[in-house]
Symmetry: C2
Subunit: 331 residues, 2 copies
DNA sequence: CTGAAAGCGCTAACAG
DNA sequence: CTGTTAGCGCTTTCAG
């Protein structure tokens, strides 16, 4: 592997000149440039990014830490985010180091430590669920951080969220406007911000329509297919006429229940799910859902990060993206 | 950020000793070790990986290059692979740099160039579709490479593939055994290895059952939902009684057609799709599919890569993983 | 059992 | 308009 020194010798200039030609950091005579380019080509030179990083304390790399669970469909959501991030990053000459906390706080800490010594230029993190991790103490302060999708309690800093409350509220509103009064709400474990916000939206919508809140219509449990199936069954038996399911895995389970028991949608039971996947289009009937702008979240996160990297230090930026209600045939 | 020098001073030893304590690379008296550990703790020292990489020419980072297309469901497949890779990598103290070629040969070349100057320790690549890229010329030879999912024509080197031919053959066999003789085959554009292999499996199965191959039952097109819908329609009108759809996006389109037109599955039309997604369980009827072991492919790729990194230079290793036929209600 | 010191490849003062 | 040179933080030979 040719080094900058080799190029300098071949081009009969100094390494400084070569460096400046590469980086355009000072004026170099055209003729000299030519020589340098020729030498670089001859030697098939390409700069050693590691050395560059060491010297310039900049790696052109940003980290992404996501909480993926094996076999969880919600992974698709984070992967869309990753995709959005990678895309914007590439356009800006940055690389993406991907890491997974497995939705586990200890692993997350470990991964942050890894990033701390890795000299990343920034970090996008979708934090694990859970109350209190003193994130402020975990970062070494040498790179900006943007939180995404979930905001840890009490964390103040750049955050890209999606409007869970509003998204849910609108969806439930549609159900209410169709005349439903007994609306079941199926959610993954409560106590995590996204779930709680969605529940809030549900309550708010009900309140606005002066429908009494019935606690027994709220069904909570681990976000699994089976649980979704089971909770849909319970609600069905309790006589609800509409279902709002606050995550995609449980949506699938719920649909499965309705199908298996020949419950006619939307006549006997209306349903609105969360997250938009292609298969929802071919469900029968096609499923109405609250669609989260995953790709856009990734983009927004990187854009914010790049601003910070480029020296913006103003306040903190909290972006709240709107989700979109996609009405199909299931309600 | 404390450096090794700071630690050395604080512990009143040389930097060499600190380094050896950290890496366990030579004997150090227990007493000295204590001092070093204490100093490290005091200073909250953590080694600078960039400097370490520069010096030791090893980054503990491997690259992954996948061909994702925006909005393509098959992304899930590659993301599962990425997940498997990340997991094994983490267990071994490696990091993952993720990159996307967007199924575009030029972008792929660019990304390889980026990796070349990044000092990665290895690369896993799911190459873009297409005939001839002289991959051998693109890699700088300083890191081992493992190809995954697709083998470029004429490439010799470590490869992790899935047995497309066998997977398809078995699936078609099931259809044949149920008495179907007119079996439609819907595929993405032919000419790419995975599609071609699946078609081969189809033909082989037919041949073994002495069913004449009917070219008009083979429908090819870009792997989109719409095209899947359309081709299913064409085949239906040509009177086939069973459908084998060789990729998941088109499977979705085909199912959509059958549903929209009230074609009873499996009575009026049996169908087997490709790739296993959760939604297939709740299709009505649940879809039978050929399941590819994505996560396992990722694992296998990294394991092979790590072998190479650790000095194994023997021959080339071609792993062919079996896909699994998942029979549900659609055939 | 430990230290001194060279040097990985690059950037960026400083000096002309 | 260009060159000299001091490091970035670490590993590793060589020398004791």
């Amino acid at each position: 592997m040719a080094s900058i020194k080799d190029v300098a010798i071949k081009a009969e200039v100094s390494t400084a000149t070569v460096s400046h030609v590469i980086n355009g950091t000072r004026y170099v005579a055209d003729k000299t440039k030519e020589k340098v380019y020729a030498a670089m080509k001859d030697l098939d030179y390409s700069p050693n990014m590691v050395a560059r990083s060491l010297r310039s304390r900049k790696s052109n790399t940003i980290g992404l830490l996501v909480p993926l669970l094996a076999e969880d469909t919600s992974n698709f959501f984070f992967m869309s985010i990753a995709n959005g991030i990678e895309q914007v990053l590439k356009e800006n000459g940055y690389n993406l180091v991907l890491s997974n906390s497995n939705e586990n706080a200890d692993m997350e800490k470990d991964q942050i430590k890894v990033f701390n010594r890795q000299h990343i230029d920034g970090l996008v993190i979708a934090p694990v669920n859970g109350k209190e991790h003193r994130y402020e103490d975990q970062f070494n302060g040498e790179y900006p951080v943007v939180f995404i999708d979930r905001r840890p309690q009490g964390y103040k800093g750049d955050t890209i969220l999606v409007n869970n409350r509003q998204g849910t509220k609108e969806a439930v509103e549609v159900l209410l406007n169709k005349g439903h009064e007994k609306i079941g709400f199926i959610t993954g474990t409560l106590g995590i911000t996204t779930s709680d916000e969605r529940l809030e939206g549900y309550k708010e919508s009900l309140a606005q329509h002066h429908i009494a809140f019935n606690k027994s219509y709220i069904k909570e449990g681990p976000a699994t297919f089976q649980k979704g199936y089971q909770l849909a069954e319970e609600l069905h038996k309790e006589g609800v006429t509409a279902l709002f399911v606050a995550n995609n895995v449980m949506t699938m389970g719920s649909v499965s229940y309705l199908q298996a028991n020949d419950v006619k949608v939307p006549d006997q039971m209306a349903i609105i799910g969360y997250d938009d996947y292609d298969w929802m289009k071919i469900a029968s009937p096609p499923l109405s859902v609250v669609r989260q702008p995953a790709f856009e979240m990734g983009k927004a996160a990187v854009e914010q990060l790049l601003k910070r990297i480029h020296g913006d230090t103003e306040g903190t930026n909290e972006v709240m993206l709107n989700s979109e209600l996609v009405i199909r045939g299931s309600c």
